[in-house]
Symmetry: C2
Subunit: 456 residues, 2 copies
Amino acid sequence: MDAEVKKLLLDTKKFVDKKIKLKGWIRNNRSQKEFGFIDLNDGTAFESIQIVYEDKALENFKEVAKFNVGSAISVEGKLVLTPNMKQPFEVKAETILLKGGSLEDYPIQPKRHSREFLRENAHFRSRTNLFNAVFRVRSVVSFAIHRFFQERNFIYLHAPLITANDAEGAGELFQVSTLDSEKPEKDFFNDFFGKKTNLTVTGQLQAEAFALAFSKVYTFGPTFRAEKSNTPRHASEFWMIEPEVAFFDLKDNMELAEEMIKFIIDDLFKNCQSELEFFNKFVEKGLIEKLKNVQTKTFIRITYKKALEILKKHNEKFTIKAAEGNDLATEHEKFLTKHFGGPVFVTDWPKDLKAFYMRLNDDDETVAAMDLLVPLAGELIGGSQREERLDYLEKRMEEMNISDKDLWWYKDLRKYGGNKHSGFGLGLERMIMYVTGVDNIRDVIPFPRTPKHCEF
Amino acid sequence: MDAEVKKLLLDTKKFVDKKIKLKGWIRNNRSQKEFGFIDLNDGTAFESIQIVYEDKALENFKEVAKFNVGSAISVEGKLVLTPNMKQPFEVKAETILLKGGSLEDYPIQPKRHSREFLRENAHFRSRTNLFNAVFRVRSVVSFAIHRFFQERNFIYLHAPLITANDAEGAGELFQVSTLDSEKPEKDFFNDFFGKKTNLTVTGQLQAEAFALAFSKVYTFGPTFRAEKSNTPRHASEFWMIEPEVAFFDLKDNMELAEEMIKFIIDDLFKNCQSELEFFNKFVEKGLIEKLKNVQTKTFIRITYKKALEILKKHNEKFTIKAAEGNDLATEHEKFLTKHFGGPVFVTDWPKDLKAFYMRLNDDDETVAAMDLLVPLAGELIGGSQREERLDYLEKRMEEMNISDKDLWWYKDLRKYGGNKHSGFGLGLERMIMYVTGVDNIRDVIPFPRTPKHCEF
């Protein structure tokens, strides 16, 4: 019967001593005079399956013995339990057919390759253990996030990618245009949209409009930053999840974020046990313990002010001294999560450190913002209660020099049934780095885009 | 207890005669001297709930009676069954509080608005019955698609959005750049990626790389076309689902597509009954019957050649006469689905009508392509078996003048374990239009982008 590796692993009993058919790629082929072993991987699971083939059983033994690594083959044979061996079963081949050969200079040989080399071969790197595991985890986590929100009655919203807004006032935008780049243009009247447009940095503003109609919504889509930072944590194109909920205050917002993070990790332990064990062994020692700790701990909630008090007491340990009014440095974030032994929400930040749409607190100095810091990785989530009071919003936009030309509709939301609402953003890549231990964002994105790099 | 409309509807019994708390927006407020009715919608369901309020029960009766349409309120009260009325229950209010007022000139009044007017008010249109239903269906269908593939062990792949490839050779691309538009540039060396880049028209090529590692993958993400067509079926930004499967031929591909379409429709009948009834009554008469027909019929499979034979017999009916070598016109597609009384796959198209990557058939003239035509809507899916033979692929790229500068890796896939594989693309918007009966693509995208239109 037709099988795939995932099914054989999940339901081995059903296939024992049965004739099965598999298709996949050769990871390794070790042949002796009269028999040989193929490690077959079909990508449906992390594990490869051992295929045993013998001269006496195969008509084409000599050819099979020469099949190159990377070749696509089909195998018919019998699944046999191997209770005394490392792997629980193997397949004794009756037929092995070449479905797609592989040249001898195939870049992915059964040995260790550097991550840089694999990035240059991103079209093949999913055929290694590491990237097979990383991109399956990316898929499983993405689906878990959808399930989390859909089970709770959230509406999935596709926020627009091309926009005329600059929501964060960040400035580092990719322009989108159909104008001829060889001709200078001051005016965008002749451009495709008749105005200057760029790739979005967030779907939040549009999510707010939907939240004020559906109560609970989330986006899950790509966002873009044209920052020229060549760091292991920056990519020009990445995916964000942005829930937005009407009638939610900052406290509700934190509860939702905590519940979501725990849901994702629970799901990984259920569906990606082999992958987590692999990461724990070869990528980040202690990963599983770190994740179990997050799973079981109630996340700490402290204000920025309180965080600063703690940090200032230990300023002798820091290169950058903690000081009122400054953003937290990476070393401060790490200190706080270590100090509390788990994830920490830092809330109520000085308004000048945060975006224009965050709700001003009664102290007139801080806003109802929250950052979730997690051990080792730092900031995983950023969110806030939104400013629902039109006069406050307008004042803040003016102070921060945010043009309201393209935001008339955003202000409208405050005039007609606008009410308390909150939301947050989770960077998918940051989450994947966190749960796999992989420390370069280029290695958790199928085909990453960074300054000067747009291959594949 | 805290409730939401969706929960009240799904599990009414649990709430009968209980004191509940609801939050939402006023759709309508009709007050008399001593009592009044509010239609409350919280967006968690299609339905609004009737709130009955009385002077003798409310301290603030006079204010409540004046609450404007669109206002956000919270209501505490008792759920009471109303067996003799249209709606199965109502809520007798004990408290009603204003959570966010609405000015009198609120654009969404309880009357019919034109779709054009609502497009200009896209930030509010989800607060109407039509768009509440459309965007909930969009969310439910999106999740059903994820479930369909995840349950079948597919890996969800995020294909890149910014790319240097032009996969379809279509030419109508949005450029992505950080260059100063006021200065002419011939050379893209100084641009962000050091070369000319654009927004992707398909994730298929990258999905092929992943399929040849994971066997079964799918993309679900935005794609872009800079076509200046102002038609009800074209948008500049839309979402595509593109499964790609190794070892699949065209026949397997059609089976997968048929199974997916039926899965989506089954799911809609389970989860969006009220919405479908609304569309059936107010948007497309006969919609439910049309969908049930698709659900139960085995899709017809015919070749392009056979389709032409049939069409040519009826050429007197067509404005554009059917002729060998030409693409099918909309009237031909409609005729075929009517002729067969259901969905039809048309396969094996003349190679010159299709993209460079489709597999050449043995006749040297047609390619292993498939289009799925459905009654009333025309083409819903396009797919093919891919050309896995390097020499054929190179010949075709040369004939069609496709530059291989940025496609070296795509050719590599044919050298190292390349094998038979197939896939297809489903335009999400086209599917939503099909299952809702809404006939303008601008009305199934939250914030649509079309030529000269990039608002919100």
